[in-house]
């Protein structure tokens, strides 16, 4: 697995300061916000960490704003990430960046959809997994775990396009960190 070259980095064993790593996914209903957070939560669970994930289902799914919180580390208490405590903010819709910035801590890392242009993806609907790949650049979770979690979350016919999207996202984050 390539080593990250810069930016904030949270290990699979412990977050910054050995505490809990907080990741917020945001976007609009139908974009795969929940799916992306499911894959991350599953990956850190497979890596042996305590993990909690929180989101709101129901009415918000109808095209409205959706956010999902994933917290992992040695022990996670509240499933909800407090204000200004997110280490990473992954946003799938350009319109949803501004209204979610308040969750991010000062040293936090933001992933926006333009990091991986949708047109360059093998399947436009894989943007969620592409940005997950970008996030993966900052986490030391083994590749085989990511692949197992993606396989577990998506039907087989979508595996290859999503592995590809994941790698494109990771490459984009690597390039950004090097720049």
């Amino acid at each position: 697995m390539p080593e990250p070259t810069g930016g904030s980095r949270a290990g699979a064993a412990a977050g910054p300061g050995g505490g809990v790593v907080n990741v917020v996914f945001a976007g609009l209903g139908g974009q795969g916000v929940i799916k992306a957070s499911d894959i991350l939560a599953d990956a850190v669970f497979r890596a042996g960490l305590d993990v909690k994930k929180a989101e709101i289902h129901g009415m918000s799914q109808r095209g409205g704003s959706v956010t999902s919180d994933v917290r992992f580390g040695p022990e996670v208490l509240s499933p909800m990430i407090p204000e200004g405590q997110a280490d990473f903010l992954v946003v799938l819709a350009p319109t949803q960046v501004e209204n979610n910035l308040h969750v991010l801590r000062k040293s936090g890392v933001l992933f926006q959809p333009d990091l991986v242009p949708e047109a360059s993806l093998p399947n436009r609907r894989s943007l969620n997994v592409a940005l997950l790949g970008a996030l993966a650049h900052h986490l030391s979770i083994p590749d085989e775990i990511w692949r197992a979690s993606i396989r577990g979350a998506l039907p087989e016919r979508l595996h290859d396009v999503n592995f590809k999207a994941f790698e494109m996202g990771r490459a984009a984050a690597r390039a950004r960190a090097a720049a």
Binding site: K53, I56, R62, S78, N99, H102
Partner: protein, 559 residues
């Protein structure tokens, strides 16, 4: 070659309980399955819906009832016969089930019955944020409340055990964050002794609640609650975490997680038994601290009960009655900070899907300036821009009665503009009662009931209902026809239209019916765009299965 050791290791691996990252809803389902619950029944409602779906996916017998009252009654019958039963609903569903619930407290059960009340503080997807802990007191039923998915698993089993031991229905109160958050759960193998096979044992005095039998039944209930209160004082579901000698916190449910994060050094009494409360335990805990604060979401339920018992505790400020708690708000409560909170971040509100078949319906209602008595489901989103075509939305099924009431008293010109709008699943839930009222007490100007039939319970995630003709697992079921029910009830005009294929025809029909003095039902039928492909798939599977069944049943092979 296999050795005795490797065989033993393999056997051990097979019996190691499964560990997973599950939502609270999934954990309840797993517990019900592991504890041999014979029947799960309920009505879909966020955040409870996934419990029965997960129970069915595990292989449990789960079914959707037309509404929560019927679900509880079916569950009660099964529990009278000695079965273990799980009944699920959202908080407002308990209002619908309240009638049998209060008397089921008197009759008790023979097997075990656990009713999950999934509350929605903050109203992520509900019309109110009622605090159903009050139902436990009002009905006189024990209530447990879990704080994580593991506890959702453990407390479901504890609730079944409690119900079986005292022969009383038990409430399991969950909240949105516990239902929908995922955390790690370890299942147990055979958590309860095997359930005895159901059988009927006659108990007329115990189950026929005429006044003469109900009076002693009420006394029996109070005696049971008294005994359960004694049990709660020492039961392992109430946990004390010793810390700071200055600050003690009494809390329960998801608030416990926020408290531990907001005040890691505080001593905490975490209540798993919401009712009856272990007041001696609470008294002894509170006495140890200079300051003892009750941190709870919603109403000051614990604080009021604890203070009424003469135990001095501090309650949260009134402003924290509203909405969910979180780590930041718990910090503020503990700091007695009642300054205005920052406004919530702007979020894009939900809206009707782009290809939703209800667009032409709401377009017409808006153009005709109808007064719309609305109901609960995706179609409530007709209230949003660009239509703003809904004037009331109160409770499941309320569109019909509210529309009739408006028509009864409004001047004729306004009365003629009133339309009741209801979805297919909501119609089956409790719109039927309104339909009967419409025929029985028609307004002078008649009335129009518009049933938006998209062939699914769309808002909660596309569940089946009696009108779809498919069961919870999407297999073939009996089919209850909306238009058939309307005709049978004696509605004068019953029409079925596709509002997408013929929007102009739909609008013409609606105008004609509004102009008449008759009672009319218009069924606007077009499948939900999100569900349409799945519905076609289920229909094909069921048709194939029926065809295969017919061949083997006749026993004659084609020549």
């Amino acid at each position: 070659m296999e050795t005795a050791d490797t065989v033993q290791a393999a056997n051990a691996a097979a019996t190691v309980p499964e560990r997973g990252l599950w939502s609270g809803d999934q954990a309840v389902a797993a517990a019900a399955f592991d504890a041999e619950v014979a029947l799960g029944t309920g009505y879909p409602g966020t955040p409870s819906t996934e419990i029965l779906e997960a129970f069915a996916a595990l292989g449990g017998r789960a079914q959707w009832a037309p509404n929560e009252k019927v679900a509880l009654e079916v569950g009660l019958g099964a529990a009278f016969a000695g079965a273990r039963v799980l009944v699920t609903m959202k908080h407002v569903g308990v209002n619908v089930a309240a009638d049998p619930l209060f008397t089921a407290a008197y009759t008790g059960v023979d097997g075990a019955l656990v009713l999950v009340s999934a509350d929605d503080p903050g109203m992520a997807s509900s019309q109110n944020e009622q605090d159903n802990r009050r139902y436990a007191v009002a009905a006189g039923l024990p209530m447990l409340e879990p704080a994580s998915s593991q506890e959702a698993y453990d407390f479901t089993i504890a609730a079944l055990e409690l119900s079986g031991r005292w022969k009383i229905p038990v409430l399991l109160r969950m909240t949105t964050r516990v239902c929908h958050s995922r955390s790690i759960v370890r299942r147990r193998a055979a958590p309860l002794p095997p359930a005895p096979p159901p059988r009927f044992v006659r108990d007329i005095r115990g189950r026929v609640m005429i006044p003469g039998f109900a009076r002693p039944a009420h006394r029996r209930l109070r005696q049971k609650l008294h005994e359960i209160e004694g049990w709660a004082e020492t039961c392992p579901l109430n946990v004390r975490r010793d810390g700071d000698r200055k600050l003690g916190v009494i809390t329960a449910g998801i608030s416990f997680q926020h408290v531990r994060e907001a005040a890691p050094d505080a001593s905490v009494l975490k209540l798993g038994t919401v009712y009856p409360l272990p007041l001696d335990l609470i008294r002894a805990f509170a006495a140890r601290f200079e300051r003892c604060v009750v941190v709870e979401e919603g109403d000051p339920f614990f604080a009021d009960a604890i203070r009424a018992a003469g135990i001095p505790v501090e309650a949260k400020g009134e402003m924290y009655r509203f909405g969910e708690l979180n780590v930041d708000r718990v910090r503020r409560i503990l700091a007695r900070d009642e300054s205005p909170e920052p406004p919530p971040a702007k979020a894009k509100p939900p809206e009707l899907c782009e290809a939703c078949p209800y667009h032409p319906v709401y377009g017409a209602l808006q153009r005709m300036d109808c007064i719309v008595a609305g109901d609960i489901g995706c179609y409530t989103l007709g209230v949003m821009e660009p239509y703003q075509a809904m004037d009331t939305c109160v409770a499941m099924g309320a569109s019909v009665g509210v529309g009739l009431g408006l028509r009864h008293v409004l001047p004729e010109a306004e009365a003629r503009r009133v339309v009741s709008v209801i979805g297919d699943s909501t119609f089956m839930h409790s719109g039927l009662n309104g339909l009967v009222e419409m025929v029985y007490n028609p307004p002078a100007t008649g009335h129009v009931l518009l049933v938006l039939d998209n062939g699914t319970t769309a808002m909660t995630g596309q569940q089946e209902h009696p009108g779809t003709g498919r069961k919870l697992d999407h297999s073939q079921a009996g089919h209850v026809s909306i238009e058939g029910m309307a005709r049978a009830a004696g509605v004068t005009h019953v029409d079925v239209v596709d509002p997408v294929r013929d929007p102009a025809g739909f609008e013409r029909l609606l105008r004609a019916r509004l102009a008449s003095n008759d009672v009319s039902v218009i069924v606007a039928r077009r499948p939900c765009v999100l569900a349409a492909a799945d519905i076609r798939h289920y229909e094909k599977l069921n048709a194939d299965k029926a065809a295969a069944g017919a061949c083997s049943a006749c026993g004659v092979e084609d020549a």
